[in-house]
């Protein structure tokens, strides 16, 4: 049975969860479903569809704050912000196309619950860093709030951080308040051509360590370069984005180009090409195209200077590219039913960080760990945190780890 409960407001969310508690039902939380196929396959009785909780409830551009019901679409929020020359600085990536869906989907609740971010993560942070306040219904059927509408707040535990990236396993968020920021007036990208992965990581480290205030650093190796729009040539490209006011971008573009010269030939992208390129990076385009969507896809977060070492540790048939100055590596494995988890886990153990099996058939996701396995002490903590919020396992149970 895949019954859907579609509450219209926060009270109905509370009612629905209380009913589920009494009726011993497990719920799958759903926003717009763009990330539904990520995580361990759920063994739930019903779907709690939160897309009915929609609408921006507060927006004060001069105070850099916006509140919305959790099911409000990101597209609606981004359009409203754009009218005021503002944006979500964490640049949430769009998972839709990776699963064959349309671009531009997703809700603010989903973005927060999965702690989305994009190329600007290296400078501006992830969803967690912009999440100011929340009202949510826990797995105990109790409405709680945390945080507020102000940026600077240390009153009580930062429960927002805990809910960001909890994949709906702790509470169903109903209202969300986020920090918004001015949109950059212009952007440009400096591209270094022809670098090997190792050199590229060194170049990106030099750029990030400069005063150029780089807001995106990605390396697109030869074998995937042709998928990225905006590049001067379909060959290995190391892209460094600069954003800000015109005189500043112009100045930094020159400084950065000079700094990158020793690494290799440098090309400059204007605003339009730059925007196109970073859109492709943010949507992981090489692995979202028809034909690539069968491939198991890993998302690896590691120390940026070590990202390139994955090349030696994984099968040569794996395709990959780097964002976050080398700290975020997207790896597509060659065969549909072989995510090669053992070599990925082994590599991550060596380099530090974590890997998530973002895309694989359900049968695979049921058989191998989707999220990074934790040490016993950490797993114990996670389990106890879950039990505090959701002792009966009503909300998205098992989506991250069995029993959590």
């Amino acid at each position: 049975m895949t019954d859907i409960l579609k509450p219209r407001d926060a009270n109905e969310v509370e009612e629905a969860i209380r009913w589920a508690l009494n009726a011993d039902k497990a719920l799958e939380l759903l926003g717009q479903g763009t990330k539904r196929a990520i995580g361990r396959p759920s063994q739930t009785d019903l779907t709690l569809d939160l897309s009915g909780l929609s609408g921006v409830t507060l927006y004060e551009p001069a105070e850099l704050v916006l509140s919305a019901r959790a099911g409000t679409s990101l597209a609606e929020i981004e359009a409203l912000l754009a009218e005021n020359n503002q944006a979500l600085a964490f640049e949430p990536m769009d998972y839709g196309p990776l699963f064959g869906g349309e671009a531009g989907g997703g809700s603010i609740g989903g973005a927060i619950a999965t702690n989305l971010s994009g190329p600007r993560r290296v400078k501006a942070g992830a969803a967690r860093d912009h999440f100011l306040g929340v009202t949510a219904v826990t797995g105990r059927g109790e409405s709680i709030k945390s945080g507020g509408r102000v940026v600077k707040n240390v009153t009580g535990y930062d429960m927002c951080k805990l809910l960001a990236g909890s994949w709906g396993t702790l509470a169903a968020m109903t209202d969300i308040t986020i920090k918004v920021l001015p949109k950059s007036e212009t952007e440009a990208t400096v591209v270094v051509l022809g670098l090997e992965d190792r050199q590229a990581c060194a170049a990106m480290a030099a750029a990030m360590g400069s005063a150029c205030d780089v807001s995106g650093a990605a390396h697109l190796p030869d074998h995937v370069a042709s998928f990225f729009d905006g590049l001067p040539k379909p060959e290995s490209s190391t892209a460094l984005r600069l954003e800000g006011v015109e005189p500043s971008v112009a100045h930094r573009k020159e400084t950065l180009a000079a700094l990158m010269k020793p690494f290799g030939p440098v090309a400059l992208l204007d605003e339009k090409d730059s925007a196109e390129l970073w859109r492709c990076i943010r949507t992981v385009k090489p692995f979202a195209v028809e034909g690539a969507r069968e491939r198991p896809l890993w998302r690896i977060s590691t120390a940026p200077a070590r990202g390139h070492e994955l090349l030696e540790l994984l099968t040569p048939a794996a395709q990959m590219f780097y964002d976050w100055a080398g700290g975020l590596v997207w790896v597509a494995m060659p065969f549909a039913n072989e995510p090669d988890a053992a070599s990925i886990r082994g590599a991550v153990k060596k380099l530090g960080g974590h890997a998530t099996l973002v895309r694989a058939p359900a049968s695979i996701r049921a058989a191998v760990d989707v999220f990074e396995p934790q040490t016993p002490a950490l797993a114990g903590l996670s389990k106890r945190v879950k039990e505090g919020f959701d002792p009966k396992g009503v909300l998205n149970s098992g989506r991250m780890w069995a029993g959590v």
């Binding site: 019954d3 942070g125 951080k161 006011v245 100045h251 590691t302 996670s382 002792p391």
Partner: protein, 512 residues
């Protein structure tokens, strides 16, 4: 459940009272045995047990509250921290962690029956990694020492609380410290990538590292600002940044605080996020000008310092824009710094605000609410009324960009009743902050100071949910009890389910 423990106020003989967990007679009775056991874990001078030597630890920056701990332990290794906590956990002994003791909210206030765990000896910088742009440091390293250690390569650590010369990174994480550059560069939580944490059970866990984001629950995000209630830090990995090419500041005077507030709003609305944006009211301007002669205009009601950082081309461009906006907001004076000395002079006044208050008044009480910025004129007006009601002067410094207000209530502890009035004045200010949509504390923490005001902001359910997080880390409630939460519930009590309602499958919820 909680006894009245009377704590003496210094100097003078006034007393303040705050309810703290009742000292455990069973623990106090075996004090000697406990001290001996702790000495076997941390040998030599690492265990302090005489009244005289424990004196420096009896309070933190909130000196109105004092309590001699049962014993002070100063471990040097993670292994020692783990063993001390394992022992305390086994024996049911409370533990209060402490960094440099600069907390302004009593977060490191000792307990009569507790071990005070001083982390000062964890003062080494373990690794500086420019390639990954991180520094791995021990928690007792001071905030400024991190910036100093990386300065030769042009780097710095962004959060800069005003106590940065003394306060430690461990304390910064515990309090999620801010500073004047938060609006652009974030608070501690936005600048910490990883930590090593010892749980009360003695288990050692690592959260994060040199990579970004958590693999599962963002426990590091909860540790930031947890005020020493969840675990003891033994290592912290922080993000370091390359310094901007240049910094310049503009000093703008306004005839009213409304005009100054309007100017702040317009600067942000136009798309400029300054590195720092600070406001002072008239009493604060006069107090600091008399003290440091920064050249502040004295005929204004509000003064704004707007600092811009970045490449010269950007800063000059934005300074011109800010000057234009200021003019449009009826500013009566506007000066942009033309040299680094002048910029530092602009800041000298603001940075001396607290000592300047100390100069014009025997004592002052520093508050720390945050408000939605648009409410500033309303809040300032109400504070004037309160100032008259309580018969105490109040000077205001304000992190204008992010709405964090620091009213300094001036009083004299030797005048009977003034301390009490200052406290009531402070509480009323914080209630007002919450009423207008703000919060009790922006960067100083709840500690013991604002603990009993928590219900102004949170319902019982909200607080219970937070305490269940505490239970996940510390089910016996041994780490820093009596701080943050006004009522201590046992974890067993908090764990029980109370399900009411929800008996019907909601005929009125649409189902498909």
């Amino acid at each position: 459940m909680a006894a009245i423990v009377t704590l003496r106020k210094q100097p003078g003989n006034l007393t303040m009272s705050v309810r703290m967990p009742e000292p455990d007679a069973r623990v106090l009775a075996k004090r000697e045995r406990i001290v001996t056991a702790l000495r076997t874990i941390v040998p030599g001078e690492g265990v302090i047990a005489t009244e005289r030597e424990m004196k420096p630890f009896e309070s933190d920056g909130l000196t109105a509250y004092r309590q001699t701990p049962m014993v002070v332990v100063l471990p040097e290794t993670t292994e020692q921290v783990s063993q001390v906590l394992t022992y305390c956990y086994g024996e049911g002994i409370k533990v209060v962690p402490r960094g440099a003791g600069t907390s302004l909210s009593g977060g490191a206030l000792p307990l009569a029956d507790g071990v005070l765990l001083g982390m000062a000896k964890f003062n080494r910088i373990r690794e500086i990694d420019f390639e990954n742009r991180v520094a791995v440091v021990e928690p007792g390293v001071t905030n400024l020492a991190v910036s100093n250690a990386v300065a030769h390569a042009g780097f710095y650590y962004a959060p800069d609380p005003s106590s940065q010369i003394a306060c430690t990174i461990g304390g910064n994480v515990a309090e999620n410290s801010g500073g004047v550059h938060c609006l652009k560069y974030g608070m501690t939580t936005n600048n910490v990538l990883g930590c090593e944490l010892v749980l009360i059970t003695g288990e050692v866990v690592r959260l994060g590292g040199k990579h970004l984001d958590a693999e599962g629950y963002d426990l590091l995000g909860v540790i930031n600002g947890s005020e020493g209630l969840l675990g003891v830090l033994t290592e912290v990995t922080v993000r370091i940044l390359q310094k901007a090419e240049t910094q310049r500041a503009v000093l703008v005077g306004f005839p009213t605080s409304e005009d100054a507030g309007e100017c702040v709003s317009r600067i942000i609305a136009t798309g400029i996020i300054p590195g720092g944006m600070e406001m002072m009211d008239k009493p604060a301007i006069h107090a600091v000008e008399e003290f440091v002669h920064a050249g502040y205009p004295l005929n204004v009601e509000a003064l704004l310092i707007v600092e811009l950082d970045g490449p010269h081309a950007e800063v000059d461009h934005l300074i011109a824009r800010v000057e234009g906006i200021a003019k449009g907001c009826r500013s009566t004076s506007c000066r942009a710094s033309t040299s680094e000395d002048e910029r530092l002079l602009f800041w000298a006044g603001r940075k001396a605000a607290f000592p300047a208050a100390g100069r014009i008044s025997p004592d002052y009480y520093c508050m720390d609410g945050t408000i939605p910025r648009a409410k500033l004129p309303e809040v300032l007006a109400e504070m004037k009324v309160m100032s008259e009601k309580y018969g105490l002067r109040c000077a205001n410094v304000f992190h204008a960009g992010d709405g964090n207000l620091h009213p300094l209530i001036l009083y004299d502890a030797n005048v009977p009743g003034e301390l009490d009035r200052a406290e009531r004045f402070g509480s009323e200010i914080l209630r007002l902050c919450v009423k207008v949509g703000g919060v009790l504390t922006g960067e100083h923490g709840v500690g013991v100071e604002k603990r009993d005001l928590m219900p102004e902001m949170f319902s019982e359910l909200d607080l219970a949910a937070q305490q269940r997080v505490k239970c996940a880390f510390d089910e016996k409630n041994l780490l820093n009890p009596g701080k943050v939460f006004p009522v201590l519930h046992s974890c067993a009590e908090l764990g029980r389910m109370h399900i009411s309602g929800g008996k019907l499958p909601f005929p009125d919820i649409p189902r498909f």
